[in-house]
Symmetry: C2
Subunit: 222 residues, 2 copies
DNA sequence: ACCTGAACACCGTTCAAGT
DNA sequence: ACCTGAACACCGTTCAAGT
């Protein structure tokens, strides 16, 4: 019997189909809903079939994360560095808003996928071409990424939705004793009455960092 | 039979004993090793006994996190704000280095424990007393915390231990193609040859933010 | 080479039962 | 009021067996 013409269940599953289905589950139902069994069910396959294409769940998550990183806007290595890095940071935030489960995993996972390495290379290249030393470029990128990860993760996990700030006032404020926590009480009230603009506030902190950075103010050149 | 003199197993378990044991497991064996069953075993008790003192695992984690926050250095509300906030940020980083599992959970958990609220109140108070508006104080604290969380989480999850930087050179460098990723290749080599000083690098980014902040440069006062 | 079913060693949590 | 054992509905992963 020739093995060339087989139209059974083989070869229906591919790594990219698995990643696509996994991303879909994580984005719509949350990362905690992503189990190997549920993923298999979504692909009309047994849980164990997946292990023919990925080593284990950790490997699957790495592949998913490199796919997310591919959405970052790649800095032009010869463009104006502040503008390039600002655009990359904003696109990272936007990407994380679309994949709320990603930053927590990205920060705690070793990802050496092609997209991740290309992003790191372009970001460093942009700074180095602007006159930063290797060490200074590394410190600058680290400061920017710290803000991007830290801000967006706080934003994503804030217990109250922006649209519900005013409604949250009546709910949370009584729990914040005006005597014990006067400043927190006042700040909460002020916060709730104000407008929330995530982009502007993100850009505020990013601007503080970018304003302070300069090629010659590096850490000790090495 | 009088119910007053009972020396059986009752009352041996307290919420604070549970938290203490849970912190010990998380700090020594990692947060993934903390299961209700293992925690119960460490306390010489059944898993279900724990549910008489905490609502569920999420509740337990919240209690653990408030305990961690109690290690943050509380800003003096009438002290010099830059110095106070710098000291608080550094103590947060040190606390996270002792509890590596904490920042990821802290950023994604609603904690309204007493220590958490006291920290927020003192931090905001320090800024407000320095002339910041409620809104400006909130933005300033957010920028500082973003850096503190983002930097420390990246630091904690960096795949290579500081002591193994040089050894990592021979291991990782061949995987970074010099043709495809020239800047990343060069930066990795430079990074490995340089010294790593986590405190100095953390303070670098923190300094950029603190230098840029000022009471009057707030977002639109409201 | 790829897919499968059964099994293993775990989870968090519910429930009814004890004292 | 507090502690327990058994059970439920899940996990990720191994393994031997199929094609």
């Amino acid at each position: 019997m020739p093995s060339s013409t087989q139209s059974d269940k083989r070869r229906t599953l591919t790594t990219s189909k698995i990643i696509e289905a996994a991303l879909s589950i994580a984005n719509t139902q949350g990362i905690e809903a992503l189990s190997m069994r549920k993923l298999a069910a979504a692909l009309n396959v047994t849980a164990m079939s997946i292990y023919n294409h990925v080593a284990n769940k950790e490997d699957l998550l790495s592949l998913m994360l490199d796919n997310v990183v591919s959405d970052f806007e790649l800095p032009d290595e010869d463009g104006p560095w502040k503008e390039m890095l600002r655009r990359r940071a904003h696109s990272m935030r936007q990407t994380f808003l679309r994949h709320p489960w990603a930053p927590t995993l990205l920060i705690s996972t070793i990802t050496n996928g092609a997209h991740t390495m290309r992003d790191a290379n372009a970001t460093l290249g942009c700074l180095i071409n602007a006159g930063f030393s290797y060490a200074a470029a590394d410190w600058a990128r680290n400061a920017i990424d710290s803000h991007t990860f830290g801000y967006t993760m706080q934003e994503l996990n804030f217990p109250v939705e922006p649209t519900e700030y005013r409604a949250a006032a009546d709910h949370y404020l009584p729990e914040i004793s005006k005597n014990d926590y006067p400043y927190l009480h006042g700040a909460t009230k002020a916060l709730i009455n104000g407008d929330y603009d995530g982009v502007t506030q993100f850009d505020f902190g990013l601007g503080l960092i970018l304003s302070g950075l300069a090629p010659d103010q590096a850490p000790d050149q090495r």
